[in-house]
Symmetry: C2
Subunit: 408 residues, 2 copies
Amino acid sequence: MSSDHGRAINFGAGPSALPLSVLEETQTGLLNFEGTGMGIAEISHRSKEFQAFLDEFEHNIRTQLDVPPTHRILFTQGGGTGQFSAVVLNLLARYRLLHPQASAADTVLDYVVTGSWSKKAAEEARRLSGGVATVRTAVDARVYSKDGKSFDNIPPHAEFAFADDPALIYYCENETVDGVEFSHDLESPAAFPFHLLKQDRLVPLVADYSSSFMCRPIPRLADHAVIYAGAQKNIGPAGLTILIVREDCIVDVDAAAKLGAPPVPLTLSYKTLADSGSLYNTPSVLAIYMAGLVLRRMKQNGGLPFYEEVNRRKAKKLYAAIHEGEQKGVFRRKVQQGSESWMNAVFEVLGEGAEKNFLEGAEKQGMKGLKGHRSVGGIRVSLYNAITEQEADKLIAYMTQFIAEANN
Amino acid sequence: MSSDHGRAINFGAGPSALPLSVLEETQTGLLNFEGTGMGIAEISHRSKEFQAFLDEFEHNIRTQLDVPPTHRILFTQGGGTGQFSAVVLNLLARYRLLHPQASAADTVLDYVVTGSWSKKAAEEARRLSGGVATVRTAVDARVYSKDGKSFDNIPPHAEFAFADDPALIYYCENETVDGVEFSHDLESPAAFPFHLLKQDRLVPLVADYSSSFMCRPIPRLADHAVIYAGAQKNIGPAGLTILIVREDCIVDVDAAAKLGAPPVPLTLSYKTLADSGSLYNTPSVLAIYMAGLVLRRMKQNGGLPFYEEVNRRKAKKLYAAIHEGEQKGVFRRKVQQGSESWMNAVFEVLGEGAEKNFLEGAEKQGMKGLKGHRSVGGIRVSLYNAITEQEADKLIAYMTQFIAEANN
């Protein structure tokens, strides 16, 4: 039932499955990195060998995502939570330099709240910007939910309300906990409403792509000010955060602080990262190595078009099974149609003890990590890049069988 | 010349050598962590298996360093540089809650500057505390240097000047770049002058132990408010920071911000870390795993007393060789006697081209990472825990031979 080395199929939401070939390459690199005689966790981050690896990693992100020269690719630590703070502090500094006299009322941070993570990000903005800015909810998806309190949808475009000249517009592309995602199809009502942004200036649009980074192309990437992602979903172990930052958002935070913007701790300053090539202090070398191997492998497999197609098929088949289960009274979808995440599918198993049976049956077949987030409950299936189509099919076959048996 | 797997002897300053047995255990854990069917980089940080590992790791630090119940052990990311900011923000919050009306002039941050890292830490304090606190240099070791400008000593006790009731007193126990370290012997003039601290209240004493953590016991640990260390020297890969924080320094930073203290980003807040058992957001699971294996191995080897004895012998023999080289006109010590670091020994090789010859000769014998920091130059030998006495002896034999040949 399990694959090589007694490995289970890991549908966990993160840290999550990584490709076996990458784990095996890491086994070698741990003892001797590219013939240096030193393991990758032991080598200086200032060595020419590591710099060459870092350059290739950056190149593989840039070419596969088509990142334009207007944007820098930076690496840091601290996960998405670190960036909740960093985007606020750096973009408040940027705004202060553009508008030295702006009042707190005029300095607006617009948050699109579609799930647990964007809600947390808005709360952090409130913590950090008291007295210097106003945090607004550009839209709250709970208002449009089936039960009036859950995050189960991307609201219609007409409901998004942005300030005329905000310091920041924030959204989370894929809500890992709630299983809600913006559509990839820009014509869809569940796409991010880029057309509502003022296009006569550089818009400070920030996107959290932590759980959907590198699963498919990023729509309108060039229109973003900051895109960030923790590595521990599609591309590596926890401990690495990847940033794509437009040049105008890399500002002199010390000059801004003199004008009244909050001071920016060194490790959160985009300028410090950019000026040092992400090597101001020791980066998480081993995590970068593993993510770099994942990116190299993605390129060999055909790049994002390959992963996009596989991920599309995996999600389509999985949601078909959930839908079938719903029609037969066995499952209940948590997320409204059109807003379902490719990466994290969330549903309930109906009936007393049924969820437990579902999880135990899956575990018997070597499938793990299916329990929903503690705040939402139910089942969560994460279909990150490292989950092969065959592995997804195995789960779907199990779900189909479970539905059939429940209807007997 | 090299050991198993074509491995060199790595005298680098960090990231640095790790025990081969730990790397080999990690190879196994990468594919299947303790029979879970998931690799350690793939498993949920909220799984019971990881929690048990984390608990053991914490226990092994607590028992080996004799950390009292008054102090919490916390894990985070961002390295020492992250803590440059965090200690300032958390201890300014603490001071504000104790003294809500204190002026910026009365809110004093006292920095003991003995090398590059404590100098950087003081600069970060100035960046973050503008308008709310006063950063003072309690002592600057350059004043007591041989050339009037280098960090080559720990100044005499009488030269340390602390404020009466500072918000923070900061020192760096071992300066990795400059090779200067406080003495372990509290009677030594180069020990930290604990006796100058006011003992009628809890002193906010902060120590950066990044490059000497777990190499020997920490003198007067219980008198510290915060001790922190990046893992990438003695105990693990880069990407993990270990904190030992006294309970009175874990404060409600939001309440302090309402009283005028600077806001504290979530990932830098000790309260956020403490309230969540260091699991507010995803920690660097793989780095924690490797460091946990190192601590487990240390315990099996006899704990800190064993490492202290070995490290003492390694340092004694190395400095004897440097001293011999100096007497014979081949080497020049950089650091004044009594202030030399056990972990990082810094010296010059005299004569044109001699340094290059020294490095090339060492490399031919499989010894790497000996080039000094770019800001100091010369040779730097790092003798972290993973460097065995035999490996240190091999370098010392090479140095002795180098001296003899230079004198021919």
